[in-house]
């Protein structure tokens, strides 16, 4: 959807029913590469966010979704001119729906060298459990 929004800006206008988030202040966004692994206890989310520092990273858990916004901390000094570019300055935005399968109170996050590692413990309700037979 971010791609469509960047190609056709009028698409990003909120439809009649208000959307949960206001994305106008973010400017162009790009979805970072990410990976989700699952164990019995938790989901592990790894997001690559090169150029993002702790202060520029915002993780919000709201309702049934998790939202990660990473702004780039580095900006080109005025006297540097571009020879060649492959990267973009767009803000990273990743939204993941978890359908309440995650206990958002116990989320643990760690950012190191441009890699964000999130541990999302599963909600008690969906953890596998053994049922004793009486």
């Amino acid at each position: 959807m971010n791609l469509i929004h960047s190609l056709i800006p009028s698409f990003s206008r909120a439809p009649v029913v208000a959307q949960g988030h206001d994305e106008k202040d973010l400017g162009p966004t790009v979805q970072p590469r990410y990976e989700i692994k699952e164990t019995d206890e938790a989901f592990g989310l790894t997001v690559t966010l090169p150029g993002v520092t702790k202060d520029n990273l915002e993780i919000t858990a709201e309702g049934e979704s998790l939202r990660i916004v990473g702004k780039r901390s580095w900006s080109r000094p005025d006297d540097w001119s571009v020879i060649y570019r492959e990267t973009t300055d767009a803000t990273y935005l990743l939204e993941i729906d978890h359908d309440n399968a995650v206990d958002t109170e116990k989320v643990h996050a760690e950012l190191r060298d441009g890699i964000l590692r999130l541990s999302l413990p599963k909600a008690e309700e969906i953890k596998p459990r053994r049922i004793e037979i009486a």
Partner: protein
């Protein structure tokens, strides 16, 4: 291999809830899913040993910035050979078959006015910045002539 995830019927997918939700919401996630599927191949570019690189210059230096998230400093190798800048990085990755070594590398042709001495590199927040000083004769010079 891709999975299309099974979604448990939640409050959101129940027809009653549809009144409260925009007609766009379902379409949006469907479009997201299609785009993600279509772009899945391109997103693996990094896994294929490539990473994006930028080049900048100012009056004294040429700067090369590369996005290399998640590497240790001593696993990054920067070399200047025959007018080419070679960036190489490796890391131990946990694959399905235990520990595997992932290696990425890239060579960039340098402009002619770059000096091979005095090259420095810094790795901050997953971004490697290599600073290459320009040759003295390539720098703009200001000569003041005394007028008698």
């Amino acid at each position: 291999m891709r999975y299309i995830r099974y979604n448990y019927p939640t409050r959101r997918s129940l027809p009653v809830a549809a009144f409260g939700r925009g007609a766009w919401n379902g379409l949006e996630s469907e479009i997201d899913r299609l785009f993600n599927a279509a772009l899945a191949g391109t997103q693996n570019a990094a896994a294929a040993g490539r990473f994006p690189v930028d080049a900048y210059q100012d009056t004294n230096n040429v700067y090369v910035r590369a996005e290399l998230p998640g590497f240790k400093r001593d696993a990054i190798n920067v070399e200047v050979v025959d007018g080419y800048l070679t960036l190489e990085a490796s890391r131990e990755a946990e694959g399905e078959k235990g520990q595997t070594k992932a290696k990425v590398n890239r060579s960039i042709a340098l402009p002619e006015d770059v000096q091979t001495e005095g090259v420095s590199a810094a790795y901050v927040d997953g971004v490697l910045t290599v600073t290459l000083p320009k040759k003295e004769e390539a720098k703009p010079r200001k000569i003041s002539v005394a007028v008698k």
